[in-house]
């Protein structure tokens, strides 16, 4: 604030921005809450752990989709976090500077590709591949959705980790070198701890995207409203909250219970995404990043 000058105009702009942001979030939550009120009023919180979703029989169990979203998010993060972090370390710490800009450009291009293209790639490349490897019926599975998602969130995570690593001053690296620390020690004791707030923000942003992605997931997840058997079987087709909304919203009559149930799915998603975002900000604040 100090370097911007503490003028009333700056304060006014900041306050206006804050009010606008809070208003937008409030309106969004109010809209979702209002649209799904009919559903919550009729069933309470019990759909959160009910596992049957048959709208025409008034069964609205959200559990299969919640579990599906959870698994897809976990698989995506398990692939994307180590890959993104390793790629960021290699590109910012090992490769020459001229290569870094090329890699960054590649990542930015990857981040800009529409999600439906990833979905189509998954449909034509990943599903047959998984079908052959695991001898599956179709290849549609939580694993396929998680793998496609990991590819989609990888650029965000890598770029954020790369930025966090590059922010560490050269003096810190040279000081560590002058103390006789080898490359591994410098990485583990200087670079990663100092870059961790930025890396964590990248992970949480990726988590948010993994949770909210619809189109690519819808094309490869199989959209089967069933809790995987056993629950850790990621090779089964399943459903996620986003793919359910994307697939069924066109069929639901406006104002119907089905419509309200889909809005409830949206509210659960939005609440989780806001929670993750707040968690990210809280860590940033605590670590003074």
């Amino acid at each position: 604030m100090k370097h911007m000058g503490n003028t009333p105009l700056v304060y006014l702009l900041i306050i206006t921005g804050c009010v606008l942001a809070i208003s937008c979030i409030s309106v969004l939550l109010w809209f979702l809450g209002d649209a799904s009120w009919q559903f919550w009023q009729a069933f309470g919180l019990s759909p959160l752990w009910a596992d049957e979703w048959y709208p025409y029989e008034s069964l609205y169990g959200l559990l299969p989709a919640i579990i599906g979203s959870f698994w897809v998010m976990i698989i995506a993060m398990m692939i994307a976090v180590p890959c993104g972090l390793s790629a960021a370390i290699v590109s910012s710490e090992i490769l020459p500077l001229s290569w870094q800009s090329w890699i960054r450009m590649g990542m930015e291009i990857l981040a800009g590709i529409p999600s439906v293209v990833y979905g189509l790639i998954g449909l034509w490349v990943l599903l047959p591949w998984l079908q052959n490897i695991f001898d599956l019926l179709t290849g549609h599975s939580l694993l396929a959705a998680g793998m496609i998602l990991s590819l989609m969130i990888l650029p965000t995570m890598m770029v954020m980790a790369q930025d966090a690593l590059r922010l560490i001053p050269l003096e810190q690296r040279e000081t560590a070198m002058s103390l006789g620390l080898n490359w591994n020690q410098r990485l583990c004791r200087i670079l990663l701890p100092q870059a961790w707030p930025g890396i964590r923000s990248g992970i949480l942003l990726g988590l948010g995207r993994a949770l909210g992605e619809t189109m690519a997931v819808m094309l490869v997840v199989g959209s089967l409203d069933r809790v995987p058997q056993p629950i850790y079987n990621i090779l089964e087709p399943a459903q996620t909250l986003t793919s359910r909304i994307g697939r069924e919203m066109g069929e639901a009559a406006f104002g119907s219970m089905h419509f309200s149930a889909l809005m409830a799915c949206g509210l659960v998603l939005a609440a989780t995404a806001i929670f993750l975002s707040l968690l990210s900000q809280q860590h940033r604040g605590r670590l003074n990043v």
Partner: protein, 271 residues
């Protein structure tokens, strides 16, 4: 104080048998025909000198003379140089144990203090390996902080963040962090630039004490400081050594016209 230093020596020496063998031969620092060219520009031109076994050598000269680059060559932070740099006859390029092992024996203090975002305590022991961190490490920490003239100011808040220290205290913390590794040579790159007079004085007192046991090479722009540090003075300009003399001789009877001009105007035009 003496007991502490002895304990510290014992602690560090017991860390590694290999290090002991290396320590026993680490004494002299000798540069022979060292040249450095970066992006087509000759930064160092045929630099040759030896540091005495103990005492302070002040490296002075105008900006861009190559003083800091020379320190970087000595610690292998810059490795594009030609010529030879040896410590007790062993070339630093072929140092047994590699360059990381070599750097543990050469303490480097930069102009701008660079403390790690952790506690004072952790900062001091940062360079120690797990093997070296023993139950007596508190004694080593106290000894090195005392040698850096910082103990009295921080002994009651060792576990507070090092970033909260003043710049002068941070610089002395960097000195303590280097000293806990028991270096055989200490290289200082304008260690008191931008420090307040009190911090400057405390660091100079520490350097005088340290110079009784080890060679110190101190880059400085402060000619009065170079006089106060006494010892040997090396005057560099445009990547070359112009004059090498004792501080007394250099400041009272400089033999080269460039030195006289530098002392008169603190400028140099010897390109």
């Amino acid at each position: 104080m003496n007991t502490l230093q002895k304990n510290m020596c014992l602690e560090v020496k017991s860390a590694s048998e290999e290090a002991i063998n290396q320590d026993s031969v680490l004494n002299d620092v000798e540069l022979a025909h060292v040249s450095l060219t970066l992006s087509g520009k000759h930064i160092l031109k045929n630099i040759s000198f030896a540091l005495p076994n103990r005492g302070i050598t002040s490296l002075i000269g105008p900006s861009g003379a190559g003083k800091s680059s020379l320190l970087r060559c000595l610690t292998l932070l810059c490795d594009h140089w030609q010529g030879d740099i040896s410590i007790q006859g062993s070339s630093i390029r072929r140092w047994s144990g590699g360059e990381d092992h070599l750097r543990r024996h050469i303490g480097l203090i930069a102009q701008k203090p660079s403390v790690f975002p952790t506690s004072i305590y952790e900062n001091v022991i940062f360079g120690l390996s797990r093997k070296e961190r023993g139950k007596d490490q508190s004694i080593c920490i106290e000894a090195s902080l005392r040698m850096a003239a910082l103990w009295d100011e921080v002994h009651d808040r060792l576990h507070t963040p090092a970033n909260n220290l003043s710049i002068g205290q941070q610089q002395r913390l960097c000195l303590a962090r280097a000293l806990i590794l028991k270096p055989k040579v200490l290289l200082l790159d304008e260690p008191t630039a931008s420090l307040d007079p009190r911090s400057k004085q405390l660091i100079e007192i520490s350097l005088h004490d340290l110079a009784k046991d080890m060679p110190l090479l101190c880059v400085t722009h402060d000619l009065e400081q170079a006089q106060r540090l006494q010892g040997q003075v090396i005057f560099m300009c445009d990547g070359k050594i112009i004059e090498k003399a004792t501080a007394k001789d250099f400041f009272q009877h400089p033999s080269r016209i460039e030195s006289r001009e530098f002392l008169r105007w603190s400028v140099c035009d010897c390109g």
